[in-house]
Assembly symmetry: C2
Homo-oligomer: 310 residues x 2
């Protein structure tokens, strides 16, 4: 079910994108990247909007309103990380279920603030309505690029190394998806050290988001199965199941990025972040996504939910 929804979203966004005809002088980056870029006078303004829905992105009954608010804000801030940008404000639209009490609303707001405050991203406005349906939170964040400009999904080049922060899989089952810290600082540090050709945050799943990045860049990729960092939360017994979870589960909110191979080598050697950086593969020309097994044999990388797309 979740897989199918992801596919529909991706299809719809593609369709929406194709409908739009932007003046590139006013809208340098439209829908289809982690954030849009619009010109605000002479300044580049980055914008993202994301929703967190009870029953889809969290279970209110299970996690409570504070964790729900936290996740809603963290999801949007993760998009800011993906652009290596600096957030400077947020607005939130909240549909509260009838029967939600003031303390619940306060807890939800505390959750939002618990993750926006550390990034000095004030919540400058909001819209609150009450309905007899589940909690829905939409968070819009605006950000400015760092020195080298926003890092898009579309700049990966054949020969680039593909790297990731952290490890993957099991985030939903373990509730880690409620507790992740958006990789904003890490992304900026990477941007200061390297030429980041392309970057995305992993929400749909490592394979799916690699697919998004590759498609946006017009390239393919080879991933070394043995190099994919598998999170301890993954509880599959056999190696194949563990790899499948790491590639497919999603909700990891780690960074996936492409950069010149020699810079990646240095980066992996230096490990300048508090989270491990690992090279998992290489950008290739064409559009194939391939998974290379320990025996050196390749097979098509399975992207969950993509079966019906071709």
């Amino acid at each position: 079910m979740r897989t199918k929804d992801k596919m529909r979203e991706s299809e719809f966004i593609d369709w929406l994108f194709s409908q739009s005809d932007f003046d590139p002088a006013a809208v340098p980056v439209g829908p289809g990247d982690d954030m849009a870029v619009v010109m605000c006078g002479s300044e580049e303004l980055l914008i993202t909007t994301d929703q967190a829905l009870d029953g889809v992105h969290f279970s209110l009954a299970r996690c409570g309103p504070e964790a729900a608010g936290r996740k809603a804000m963290a999801r949007s801030l993760s998009d800011v990380a993906a652009m290596a940008a600096i957030p400077f404000g947020a607005v939130a639209a909240v549909a509260l279920p009838k029967g939600f009490q003031q303390p619940d609303a306060e807890a939800m707001y505390r959750g939002l603030r618990s993750i926006s405050d550390p990034f000095e991203c004030p919540i400058v406005g909001g819209d609150v309505a009450v309905w007899d349906k589940p909690l829905a939170i939409s968070v819009t964040i605006f950000a400015r690029p760092t020195g080298p400009g926003p890092v898009l999904r579309s700049g990966a080049k054949p020969g680039d190394a593909i790297c990731v922060t952290g490890s993957f899989g099991g985030a939903w089952a373990s509730q880690r998806h409620l507790e992740f810290m958006p990789r904003i600082r890490e992304a900026r540090r990477l941007g200061e050290r390297c030429e980041l050709h392309a970057m995305i945050d992993v929400s749909d799943g490592l394979a799916a988001d690699l697919g998004h990045l590759a498609r946006a860049s017009g390239v393919g990729a080879e991933i070394l199965a043995a190099n994919v960092p598998i999170h301890p939360d993954v509880d599959a017994r056999d190696e194949a199941g563990r790899l499948r979870a790491a590639l497919g589960d999603g909700e990891d909110y780690e960074l996936l990025f492409a950069l010149p191979a020699e810079q990646a080598e240095q980066l992996v050697r230096d490990q300048p972040l508090t989270v491990p950086i690992r090279r998992i593969g290489t950008v290739i020309s064409g559009e194939a996504l391939r998974l290379i097994g320990p025996d050196g044999r390749g097979e098509p990388l399975q992207v969950p939910g993509w079966e019906h797309e071709t």
Copy 2:
């Protein structure tokens, strides 16, 4: 029910506002006005977010997806009008009900575009999710101020005239709330001609939004009952019922504004807009909101849903 919700929203926004401590150099206007104002480099950036929920702001079964999308965009653009600002982009977060078909989603999107295109406000990004709950649309709009700067709710001064565009009441029952055109051009024209001390768009109701404006400005107001323009959609039989509808129904999305009395006189004489402008009252010192009857006797202005606030 709707009245109670409005009150809760207002309470919550107040509470939210009191929690925040903004650096005025970075956030000149925080929550509590029609739009927040944040500094984007040296530019003032105006932001609003608003949601349109099935069963609260529209009935999908009754109006269909295109009208729902249209209203979602129009609601947010009406906030831009209230600041006499110029929109330059929007993002939308949409929770689609399961079973929503691609043609429904396209119709919803057409509805959004039908009202953003006339104002040259491109939809630069979006987030789409699917859930087994009703349609929820959040639209965030960013705008820039016109020459004199954003018009806030808080600048009304004793002695100012209180004016409105258009007429009031019956918008929900007649479905007019699905078809209104945000008063963006009218607001700008007003801003070019007059010193707009304070302005708000009337969504909660004429009395309630007058209350918001007065409270934000720290003033009171006297409204002349005979001058309140009543919309032909109001179907109450007696004069008292018609006035009550005009003051209380809401969803009119007209402009309510305060300006120097002599400028209002000129404005009402010239009628420079295609929609009628009418003076309905006067800003007074203190905090009382009073309704003056045809016999010259005053009574407290009843603000629906506010009974429990004091």
